[in-house]
Structures are given as C-alpha cells and as structure tokens.
C-alpha cells in the first residue's frame, strides 16, 4: 500500500496546473465574470481537448490518454482550483460516446438534479445518470444563476420535493419514482472539483491572514482567525483522503463519503474564506464569492446530499457492523 501520489501523478497534476495558470489566470476569470456566463470559451475547450483533459480515461486504442480515475480526479481538482467554467464533468464523461467530446470539439452538458449547466452553449445534452442523449432538457427554463460563471436552466417537474422519496432503493426509477441519482463518476469528479475549490480558498484565507494588518499585527496572529484557518485545512485534508481513496477504489460508498466531505470542505471553506477577508470578502471585486457560489452549484450535481447519506446509512446495515 502506497497511498501517495506517484511521480507520474505529480507530473500530471503540475502539468494541468501550469496549463490552467497560463490559459485561465485571474484576468481570464474576471473577463469571464464580465461576460456574465455568456459565450463559453470554445478555443479553451479545444485546448483542453488537445491536452487530453476529456479523453484522459479513454483507452489509447480509441485515441485517448489511457489513464485512470485517480489521474482524472487530479485534473478535475486543478480545474476546481481555478474555477474553470463549463460543463467539464459532463463532457469528460461523454468522451468516447458523443462524437467530438473527447477532442473538445463538442460541448456536452447533462441534467443533474433538475438543473442543466450551460444549456445554451452546449451541443448535446445527456441524462445525468450517464444515459444517452435524450430530450431530458425539454421545456427547460433559464434561471438567473447565483453563480455568474455557470448559466443554469431548470427542468420542471424533475426535482424531488420530498427528500424521503429516496427512502426506497436508490437507483430505482419509474414513471412515478424519483429521478435516478447521477452516476457515481459524475459525483466523484464533482467532488474532486470541490476539493480543489476548498484547497484554494484555504490558501487564499491563509495568504490574507498573513498579510492583512490590524491592531498592529497580521490578523493571522489572532487565535480566532488562526483557528478558522486550521479548521479549513482539516476539512481539506480529510476530503482529500476521501476523494483520492474513492478514485482508487471507485466504490460507490467511498464515492458517497467523498462527496459529502468535499461538499462540506468547499462550502464551509468558501464561507470561512469570506469571513477571514472581512468586508473585502463581501465585495463583488473580491473573487471569494465566486468560490462559494460555484461550490453551491456543485452541491446540486451529485443529487441531493440526502441520497448519499441514505446510501451510507444502508451500507452500515449491509456491512454487518464493520
């Protein structure tokens, strides 16, 4: 057992980080915000395709990179760190199934929990449970998305209003049953993005706490601020262990656990980051709100959290007291 990144995995992570830093730095982020979620950067999408972002897990024989889920998770973590916009997860999962998805020529989105990201900018729409393209987004109406970098459409009548509807076997679907939860890979890759989001807000909070002076010293010297930052790191490290392990095992229970911890790390981390930034954190000019809003959007992608909790609860009974 060597549950650490291999040399190749480190190199891949560093490579993706360098690519994204050059292509989607802070200025590009602000430009995208100014565009208000209109006009997905198709050139960037193709560059990601050329770099193998979408075809990472396709066999080399099919023109892919031939890597595994752990490598995909590392790449999505990096995308999460820089708030890379677009239906990255849906397009990645469509590679090999929807023509042009693997190369970044085609933008593919999916319906997750009654929501569709980037519908107007996408070439194909898939069922969020990993099914083939269909008319799943029929009748979708636009929302004024809380995240300025993620335009959203709402599909009427597909959202479970009663959370206990999931008390039945998860995965069942029928004419009157709840919608199928998104497939596990979508949930895991989203958790990886949440992990990157959380790691980045932790770094930003620490950076600010080290430099921002109040009462004659950096605010990070005050235990109240220090402890906020320490709690952020603890959440990030626990989420990281859970997400990486789920990538290695691909076990649905590990994925459900990873998702809960990564959502928690991302949402609470962004809120704490905002708190550390004080009044500055509440401004539009600061990027902090973008991390929080994206984290909120992603929490809806894996089905509601209660689905994961119910899965894990049932696992306890099935697992005969491990």
């Amino acid at each position: 057992m060597d549950f650490q990144l291999t040399e190749d995995q480190r190199a891949l992570r560093d490579g993706v980080r360098a690519l994204l830093a050059g292509r989607f730095g802070p200025e590009a982020l602000r430009t995208a915000v100014a565009r208000g979620g209109r006009g997905l950067d198709r050139a960037l999408w193709r560059e990601l395709g050329e770099a193998g972002f979408f075809s990472l897990r396709l066999p080399e024989a099919d023109g892919g990179v031939g890597l595994g889920l752990p490598e995909a998770v590392l790449a999505f973590e990096e995308a999460g760190r820089v708030l890379l916009p677009g239906p990255l997860v849906a397009t990645h999962l469509a590679a090999g199934e929807v023509a042009g998805a693997a190369t970044g020529e085609t933008v593919v989105t999916a319906v997750y929990g009654g929501l569709v990201e980037w519908l107007d900018e996408s070439d194909a729409v898939r069922d969020g449970a990993g099914g083939p393209a269909g008319d799943g987004a029929a009748g979708a109406v636009p929302l004024t998305s809380v995240d300025p970098l993620t335009p959203l459409h709402r599909v009427p009548g597909t959202f479970p209003t009663d959370p206990t509807a999931h008390a039945g076997p998860v995965g069942d679907t029928g004419p009157t049953g709840p919608p199928r939860p998104p497939d596990h890979l979508a949930t895991l890759l989203t958790a990886a993005e949440q992990l990157g989001n959380a790691a980045r807000t932790c770094e930003r909070a620490v950076q600010h706490a080290r430099t921002r002076q109040q009462f004659g010293q950096p605010i990070g010297a005050f235990q109240a601020v220090k402890h906020l930052c320490a709690r952020m790191l603890v959440r990030v490290e626990l989420a990281r262990a859970a997400v990486y392990a789920a990538a290695v095992t691909a076990d649905p229970m590990d994925i459900a656990a990873a998702r809960l911890l990564a959502d928690d790390a991302a949402v609470r981390g962004a809120r704490d980051c905002l708190q550390v930034h004080g009044g500055m954190g509440f401004t539009w000019e600061s990027d902090v709100h973008l991390y929080l809003k994206r984290a909120w959007v992603r929490t809806r992608r894996g089905g509601s959290a209660t689905v994961s909790e119910e899965l894990l609860a049932r696992d306890l009974v099935a697992g005969a007291g491990r």
């Binding site: 549950f3 010297a221 262990a241």
Partner: protein, 384 residues
C-alpha cells in the same frame, strides 16, 4: 496512489488473524474498571502473550528489541487486533507508545538495555509525568524543580492527570533543571522509579465516576543522574520526540473501533425501530462518511510516514482534531439510538459517551492542536 497490500503484507495479516482467532478465546475475563491491580495484571499478561508470539513492539526498531515492522504492517496489526476484539494496550500505553520509543531514540546503550526489554515483555508499567496543575496545555510552564546533589537529582513539585500512576513502576518525568534559562531550555527528561521515597499518589475521580488518573506529589525524591535521557536542559526536544509519537500513532486503532461501534448502532436502531427516523438514519450515514474518511486519512498518513522513514509528522494533529470530535458525535448519535436508556450508566455506550468527553482535551486540547496546525503547517504567525 495504491490501496492494495503486497502479498507479504497480506500474509502477515493472515498469520496474525489466525493467531488472534486461536489466542483470544483463551484469555481470562477482563477485570472491572475500578480494579487497578487486576487491570495491571491483565494488561501485562496480554503484553506477555504478544511477546511470546513475536508481536511485542512490532513498530519498534530491531536494535531496541522490537520487530522493525513497517508502518503499513503496524497499521494492519492495529486494524486486525481491533477487529478481532483483542485487549487494548491499557496500562502499557505510556511504555509502548511514549517512553519506550523515546528511550529507543534518545537513550544510551545502558538505558535501552535497562528499560526497553521489561516494557516489551510485559514486566514493567510506565506513567507520564508531564502535566502540572499550572502547566497543562502550556507544558513549558512546568515548575517541578530538580537540584543536583552528587550523583542524584533531588526533585520536588507535583504532577497531574497521570494515568496508571497507582500501578506504574516508572514515570517519564519532566523537571526544571535550570530555572534561569528561557522556559523551553531549562527542562530535563528523567526516568523516575515509582518506588522512590517521597512520592505520594492521590487518585482523581473523573466525571465518568472512576479513578482513571491521579495527582502525583514529589517531596525531595532522589533520582540518579544516570536516569536522565538526553542532555541536561535538553528535555524539551526529547519531549517533542515523545509527543510526535503520541499524536502520530496513539489513535490509529480507535478509528477501526469507531467504525465497528457505528455498525452496531445501525443494527441496534434497526432492532428498536429508531431506524425509521430519516433524520437519525442520515446522521448515521454522515458519520459513516466521516469514519470512512478518517480511515483513509490514517492510510494516507501511514504511507507518508513509510516514505519519510517512519517518524510521524504534524499531520497527526489534523487527524486528532477531526477524530476526537467525530468520536464524541458518535456517542451523541448512540444516545439518540438508545433513547431514554442513554441515561442509564449500566449501558456501555453511556459510559463510553462520558469517557469520550476527554478526547478533545487529552494529549493536547483541540485549541492547542489548531494552533499547531495554523503555525506549523499553514505558517501563520505566532501570536497571543
């Protein structure tokens, strides 16, 4: 990233499992909580059984009498012994996890030969004399004084929260040998015989009702200078060695125990109808996620230790922070499952719930651990 075990590691696991299955049914019944001499005998007996089977001091280095096992083998050992319901190290906790590794790392040849074998063979029990009434979390504020008198130190002062003091043979004792030096620089680490004249042990009753630790009063106790481990006034550095072991490995086996308790909770809830409450069900589901992740973090930390040569790093603080709170929450959930019976002290989960209140305090409070994480990992400035 790899979570599979090597064939060698799987073989180690299989042999251990087989031995546990054969050995555990023959163990005598556990003595009651208040029976200190009985608990000492029971814990030492288990240690002797481990020693005879070649499992004593598994993670200790070979030249210290240990088995030189890798961190991963140690992880497997802790996982399997806990799963099989083997006894906890109990009274041997300080000797095996603190004093032993410290002496192995910092002691002279004579000191290693004198103190290490009896710990491994289950012949001597150690206790920890670090905390004082006015120096708990602020360990460097300790005031117990040691004067040189010929070949002895003469020690006066008092210690508190000393587990197993009533039945210990030796105490790893921190004393101030230079009161004029800066507070971290005037401390020495001594091995004190608990038979020495001038020692008074007064048990302290915990909120759980039992006497789990004690106050120790020292009135001109003579300790040979030869019993000092490390250089005079270098005790703080020696102590940091001890504490890194405490934080790095002390809680590994307990994650496995928590996962078992969580499974038992789910089955109990199914049995008494509480499972029908979706809020409780989801709470247990979330705790399942928590303990699965803590187990993964354990595997992460252990394989990192293996890569860096076996010494646990500050990552132990990250683990301890989350674990200690999760474990308290586990017993809060148990109380929800039990309902009114959660107020009955005869219930094991009720007693465990009381005991778990110490986890965010013992071995460095959560507040101290957060300072460590913030200053040593995140690099935030030291402050007030």
């Amino acid at each position: 990233m790899d979570l599979t075990y090597t064939a060698e590691e799987e073989e180690f696991r299989a042999r251990l499992r087989e031995w546990l299955a054969k050995t555990l049914p023959a163990l005598p019944p556990k003595p009651s909580l208040g029976d200190w001499p009985g608990r000492r005998a029971y814990d030492l007996g288990w240690q002797r059984t481990l020693y005879d089977a070649g499992y004593a001091g598994l993670h200790w280095p070979l030249d210290a009498g240990g088995r030189g096992a890798t961190p991963v083998q140690h992880l497997i050992y802790l996982e399997e012994t806990e799963k099989a319901g083997a006894p906890y190290v109990g009274a041997n906790f300080v000797g095996l996890l603190h004093a032993g590794p410290t002496i192995a790392a910092e002691g002279t040849t004579e000191q290693r030969a004198r103190w290490l074998p009896p710990v491994l063979r289950g012949e001597e029990v150690w206790c920890q004399g670090f905390s004082e009434p006015d120096a708990g979390s602020d360990l460097a504020a300790l005031r117990t004084r040691a004067w040189r008198d010929g070949d002895d130190y003469v020690v006066s002062g008092s210690k508190i929260w000393t587990s197993h003091a009533e039945v210990a043979d030796w105490c790893e004792l921190l004393v101030r040998t230079d009161p004029d030096a800066p507070r971290h620089r005037g401390i020495s680490w001594l091995a004190m015989s608990m038979d020495a004249p001038g020692i008074t042990v007064r048990p302290l009753r915990t909120l759980a009702g039992s006497a789990e630790f004690a106050e120790v009063f020292l009135d001109e106790v003579r300790i040979p200078v030869a019993h000092r481990v490390g250089a005079e006034n270098d005790g703080w550095r020696v102590t940091m060695v001890t504490l890194s072991y405490e934080r790095g490995t002390a809680f590994v086996g307990e994650v496995v125990a928590c996962r078992r308790v969580l499974g038992e909770l789910a089955h109990a809830a199914r049995g008494n109808g509480r499972w029908d409450d979706p809020a409780l069900r989801r709470w247990l589901g979330r705790l399942n996620a928590e303990f699965r992740a803590l187990w993964r973090l354990t595997q992460w930390n252990v394989s990192e230790a293996e890569r860096t040569g076996g010494v646990p790093g500050v990552g132990g603080s990250v683990f301890k922070l989350r674990y200690s709170h999760a474990r308290q929450e586990l017993y809060d959930a148990a109380a929800e499952v039990l309902g009114p019976e959660a107020l009955d002290l005869e219930q094991e989960w009720t007693r465990d719930r009381l005991t778990s209140l110490s986890y965010t305090i013992a071995a460095g409070t959560s507040q101290i651990q957060r300072n460590i994480v913030a200053e040593r990992i995140l690099g935030l400035p030291k402050g007030r």
